[in-house]
């Protein structure tokens, strides 16, 4: 495919996900996510937002239907190749999941330590990621010394340091105040400018309404609304 053609695309074709016990997390979901677009997944708890993200992460397999990323069926990716797929993803959680015994710098550098970059390049990219989230002065601090908002931003920096093609966030603003939440969302939106697909699961409707984005509403695993605002 020529380099100038849009590369990043996630497509859900009639995707359903059932867990043991028969609970349908997702039901016949069909949609397409493209690069340069921020998509909010909304809905109450249990609507299927996290399951949607887990399917993209290939932490789970769809029970039926097909999910393709850039034309590649996720189900066809072999187990041994999954790590290489996940290196193209950036994931942010509500609980930041930082390594408390390491510095901010070391936390952000974790993904880079897997791909053989030189120390110089690693340092440059970590500093750049910390600058994006506004924490360039705290690289030597440990997470225990940071506030909840700062820890969340470290989590975001770790997610973006690899310049992910797909940025996923699961309730990333749950522990943040409104001002920080808005800043975090604006930060995610910036990544569309470098061609990332950004998908954010959130039930914070007032916050979502402040961002110009696509909104996909889920209810009991079904897509009940898919619109731009």
């Amino acid at each position: 495919m020529p380099f100038w053609v849009s590369m990043n695309k996630i497509r859900f074709d009639n995707v359903s996900k059932a867990y043991s016990g028969g609970k349908m997390a997702l039901s016949d979901v069909s949609l397409e996510l493209v690069e340069g677009e921020v998509t909010f997944l909304t809905g109450h708890s249990g609507a299927g937002k996290s399951s949607f993200l887990k399917l993209i992460m290939r932490d789970q397999l769809a029970s039926s239907g097909r999910i393709t990323v850039n034309g590649v069926d996720l189900a066809s990716i072999k187990e041994r190749n999954l790590p290489y797929y996940r290196r193209g993803l950036g994931v942010v959680f509500q609980d930041h999941h930082l390594l408390m015994d390491r510095t901010v710098f070391e936390n952000v550098a974790v993904p880079l330590s897997l791909i053989g970059l030189s120390d110089k390049v690693t340092a440059r990219r970590v500093r750049a990621a910390l600058t994006i989230v506004g924490l360039e002065g705290l690289s030597k601090s440990k997470p225990v010394e940071l506030s909840a908002g700062e820890r969340q931003r470290v989590g975001i920096a770790r997610a973006v340091v690899m310049r992910p093609r797909v940025l996923l966030a699961d309730e990333p603003t749950g522990n943040l105040d409104p001002e920080l939440s808005l800043r975090a969302m604006e930060l995610f939106a910036q990544f569309t400018e470098i061609g990332s697909i950004v998908v954010i699961a959130s039930h914070d409707l007032p916050l979502i309404n402040q961002i110009e984005a696509r909104v996909v509403e889920l209810k009991e695993g079904l897509v009940i609304d898919d619109s731009r605002q």
Partner: protein
């Protein structure tokens, strides 16, 4: 673009691969230090488990050593016919001396034999008691060093057929007993080595499982950001190797102290029976052997501890 992945896969880089091994070893070392008492406890357990087969192996090597040192020197006693005269005795001695299979032959007169018998049994002067000496002249000596064990019986029969010879006795009963014991120790050694390997691997397996549980968040994060299973498990494998190595060192110290404590009493016994016999102790061959065994068993246990965890691990 690869048809199996949505984006290109990073290329294998040997420099990075080697560097990551060094880094993983440092991580394992740091973990060992952070959980120092736990790690030392695990290593000590491994070391103690290693002491029995290691000591048994040394014991076995010493038995083999004794066997080899003595096996070239079994003695023999050639009993002459009771009525053999001096001339016949001398001719028999000359004939036996001409055989290259024998050495250091000498005549033991009947009177001397009777005196020694009386002394050993504590009876005293048997000639007075018996009136006449019932014992014959004998010729005693040793088999040559190059006579094979399997030829002993053939040689014995050959000598027995010679004129004026009544009986030939080879002093190999103790040697056969020694061989039996050596065989038994060898069997015990195999059993204990297998048991030790299983026990030590299990200790390492359990310890590594605990180490993984301790670092579960880190492991899940690594999996999430695209670490391969090899990258995730490597520090734990190095941890297992460290446990095994330190355990091996602990085991070596215990064995060395035990051997040092036993050396003098054993030396006394050996010197009383065989002079100049070497004592097989903790050597430059034994030390790396134990270290390699310890590291291998530690690694093996770690592999069994890590693999199932990797399979069932979910992302955050």
């Amino acid at each position: 673009m690869s048809s199996h992945l949505p984006w290109p896969k990073s290329r294998f880089n040997i420099g990075f691969y080697l560097k990551s091994h060094v880094s993983n070893f440092r991580t394992a070392f740091a973990f060992f230090g952070r959980r120092f008492f736990f790690s030392v406890g695990v290593s000590l357990l491994l070391g103690i488990a290693m002491v029995l087969p290691a000591s048994l192996w040394l014991f076995y090597k010493n038995l083999v050593n004794i066997d080899q040192e003595w096996s070239g020197q079994p003695g023999l006693v050639v009993y002459l016919e009771i009525h053999a005269n001096d001339g016949e005795i001398k001719r028999t001695l000359e004939e036996l001396q001409s055989l290259k299979d024998l050495r250091d032959l000498y005549i033991v007169p009947a009177d001397q034999a009777l005196k020694r018998f009386g002394y050993l049994t504590g009876v005293g002067d048997l000639k007075e008691l018996l009136g006449a000496n019932p014992l014959p002249f004998s010729i005693q000596g040793y088999l040559a060093n190059d006579v094979e064990y399997f030829d002993y019986e053939k040689l014995r029969k050959k000598i027995k057929k010679m004129p004026h010879i009544d009986d030939v006795v080879l002093e190999i009963e103790w040697l056969e007993n020694l061989r039996e014991i050596t065989g038994l120790v060898n069997l015990l050694l195999i059993v204990y080595v297998i048991l030790f390997a299983i026990a030590s691997a299990f200790i390492s397996f359990t310890s590594i499982k605990i180490a993984i549980e301790d670092r579960l968040t880190e492991v899940k994060i690594l999996k999430l950001v695209g670490a391969t299973n090899a990258q995730i498990r490597r520090p734990f494998l190095y941890c297992g190797v460290l446990y095994g190595l330190v355990g091996a060192i602990a085991g070596l110290v215990i064995v060395t102290l035990t051997m040092a404590w036993m050396y003098e009493p054993l030396r006394f016994i050996l010197d009383s029976n065989v002079s100049g016999l070497g004592f097989f102790g903790v050597t430059s061959f034994f030390v790396p052997l134990v270290l390699i065994c310890g590291a291998s068993v530690g690694w093996l246990g770690a592999i069994f501890g890590v693999q199932p965890q990797m399979k069932k691990l979910e992302l955050l």
